[in-house]
């Protein structure tokens, strides 16, 4: 007798995936089309169609609004301009659209999850471990089933990105909500707030810095997925990197990699900036 009891998950899993593909594949492909036509393509068309200087202007204004400092806003704009100089403007816009849509979907799904986790200990005990698994599972493991179910291209890439990048948002939303000063919540409660009034008027605004930190991390993780996403045919900067590596064109790969870094820095500074503009909770408020 072997010490290890033979256990084979491969066949059942393969069969499950196959039957999912046969039974729901067409419907999921329709969902794919919906996300594409309803969300990604319009955004991508707008970004790719707009004159680059308009986009650069928007970047500059956003960066300025977020940081209130031209010393930050200007270099960020120049960084984006530089990506254009590399001849990667179009790829940049595709990647940007991908990351933005992934982030929006992650927020739409992650914020409620975080709220649920913050309000119910039992649900938190379910949600957080599941997220841990999603974050640690090697991405390629669910990339390929995603291709089977949703087809090749940007949508499965976005969905895989959401799966991977949603984690910090849920965590930081949960944390931020649970760290809201109980004294303040009690006071609001004493005035007869409903759950919604409490959530929208007190808890979410006070957890805002934490939530934005989560959004920031989610965007960063989405960006880090760009290259992996290109392995299932998502075009953009990631494809450049992948092609560069696979054709031994180190220069091409590095240049596109640098573009991703520049984009990451720009998005990071801007989202962080917005996190800071909001009024922080001062500690004197809670001395006791």
């Amino acid at each position: 007798m072997d010490f290890f009891v033979p256990l084979d998950l491969r066949e059942p899993i393969n069969q499950a995936v196959d039957s999912l593909v046969v039974r729901y594949g067409d419907r999921l492909h329709v969902l794919n089309d919906l996300i594409l036509q309803g969300l990604l393509l319009p955004l991508e068309r707008a970004l790719r169609g707009a004159p680059p200087w308009v986009i650069l202007l928007v970047v500059a204004l956003l960066a300025w609004r977020a940081t209130r400092r031209w010393q930050v806003a200007l270099p960020l704009t120049v960084a984006c301009y530089l990506i254009g100089c590399f001849g990667l403007w179009d790829a940049l816009m595709q990647t940007l659209a991908l990351v933005l849509v992934a982030t929006v979907l992650a927020v739409v799904a992650g914020l409620p999850l975080g709220i649920v986790a913050a309000h119910s200990r039992r649900l938190r005990a379910v949600v957080l471990p599941v997220l841990d698994v999603m974050q640690t599972l090697p991405t390629f493991v669910y990339l390929i089933p995603a291709v089977m179910l949703f087809g090749l291209g940007k949508v499965p890439a976005i969905l895989a990105t959401v799966v991977y990048a949603i984690c910090p948002l849920v965590r930081l939303t949960d944390l931020g909500l649970r760290q809201v000063d109980p004294d303040v919540q009690e006071a609001a409660h004493s005035f007869g707030t409903t759950r919604w009034q409490m959530l929208l008027g007190v808890q979410l605004p006070l957890a805002w810095p934490s939530i934005l930190a989560g959004v920031n991390q989610t965007v960063m993780m989405a960006l880090s997925m760009v290259v992996v996403a290109s392995m299932i045919g998502a075009r953009g900067l990631g494809e450049e990197v992948l092609a560069g590596i696979q054709t031994l064109d180190v220069g091409r790969g590095l240049q596109a990699g640098l573009a991703i870094v520049l984009l990451a820095v720009a998005i990071d500074r801007i989202t962080q900036g917005f996190g800071r503009v909001r009024r922080p909770i001062r500690d004197e408020e809670r001395r006791s």
């Binding site: 004493s190 005035f191 408020e285």
Partner: protein, 282 residues
């Protein structure tokens, strides 16, 4: 004077198994024994009180004696483990969620030791909060808030954020916020404890004036015996979650029921603080 608020045999045990703790207490165990035996904290045990309408009712006791626990039963921020809580003759424990919200929105408001102001809203928005919560338009709520801010002497600070204010100013915001709800009952949990003595004196006077003018029923929590005697038309003393003595200040001073009360009272009897620093209640 009819009883506006009544507590009947209210007990509160913090812990998993309040019934066991209550049984022990009924057998004569004290708070510390219960904690040792069950790991549960006793907040209150078998407290019965009747708070008359109009006037300031002061509740005092040492730290941990259950004052905050008691006052939070009145608007049900805390549910009792046993007993009844009546407001205007109605048992609030039987209230639906909607009625309870209504109670908090229109009949009882509260001031907190640590202010509990919303740090992300301006002073004006904070004061208007209670009215906004109950659905009034922003314009109406803020107009009313403006009036109350003026009443507590904070005109001109409408657009400030709470953490730009001094402690005394913040508590005035807290007071204005509670007053802006136009409730008949005002709960105040050590509202002035975090303030320095001069400010406290000032605010006490202001409170007496306000009470005289508005005739509200105020439940005032304090661990400061001088404050209790100065403000309270009646006084209740808590110790380890039990009500020790209750009555008019003069009566309590004249006949303390035990050493604990006597030691408290001794601190004021010499100074004989006049109750009429502000305008006397009418």
């Amino acid at each position: 004077m009819s009883a506006r608020i009544e507590l009947r045999h209210v007990s509160k045990v913090y812990g998993d198994d309040p019934h066991r703790a209550l049984t022990l207490l009924a057998q004569g165990a004290d708070k510390h024994q219960v904690l040792a035996d069950t790991g549960s904290h006793v907040g209150l045990y078998d407290v019965s009180l009747s708070i008359p309408a109009g006037g300031i009712y002061a509740i005092m006791g040492l730290s941990g004696s259950g004052k905050s626990t008691l006052v939070r039963h009145i608007n049900r921020l805390i549910d009792p483990s046993a007993g009844q809580v009546l407001v205007d003759g109605e048992d609030v424990l039987g209230f639906s969620a909607a009625r309870l919200r209504d109670l908090r929105r229109r009949r009882i408001s509260m001031v907190f030791q640590h202010f509990g102001l919303l740090p992300h809203r301006t002073v004006l928005e904070n004061v208007a909060f209670g009215r906004r919560v109950r659905g009034e338009s922003r314009r109406n709520a803020q107009a009313a808030a403006q009036g109350w801010l003026a009443r507590v002497g904070l005109s001109g600070h409408e657009r400030d954020y709470p953490d730009h204010l001094s402690g005394g100013m913040r508590q005035r915001v807290g007071l204005a916020r509670a007053l802006a709800s136009d409730t008949d009952i005002l709960l105040m949990d050590e509202p002035f404890s975090a303030l320095d003595p001069l400010l406290r004196d000032d605010l006490q006077s202001q409170l007496l004036t306000l009470q005289a003018e508005l005739g509200k029923t105020i439940v005032f929590i304090t661990h400061d015996v001088e404050e209790a005697f100065r403000l309270g038309q009646r006084i209740a003393l808590l110790r380890d979650g039990r009500l020790v003595q209750e009555g008019e200040p003069a009566a309590v001073r004249a006949a303390p029921v035990d050493d604990y009360v006597a030691r408290f009272v001794a601190r004021v009897s010499g100074a004989d603080v006049p109750r009429s620093t502000g305008s006397a209640p009418g």
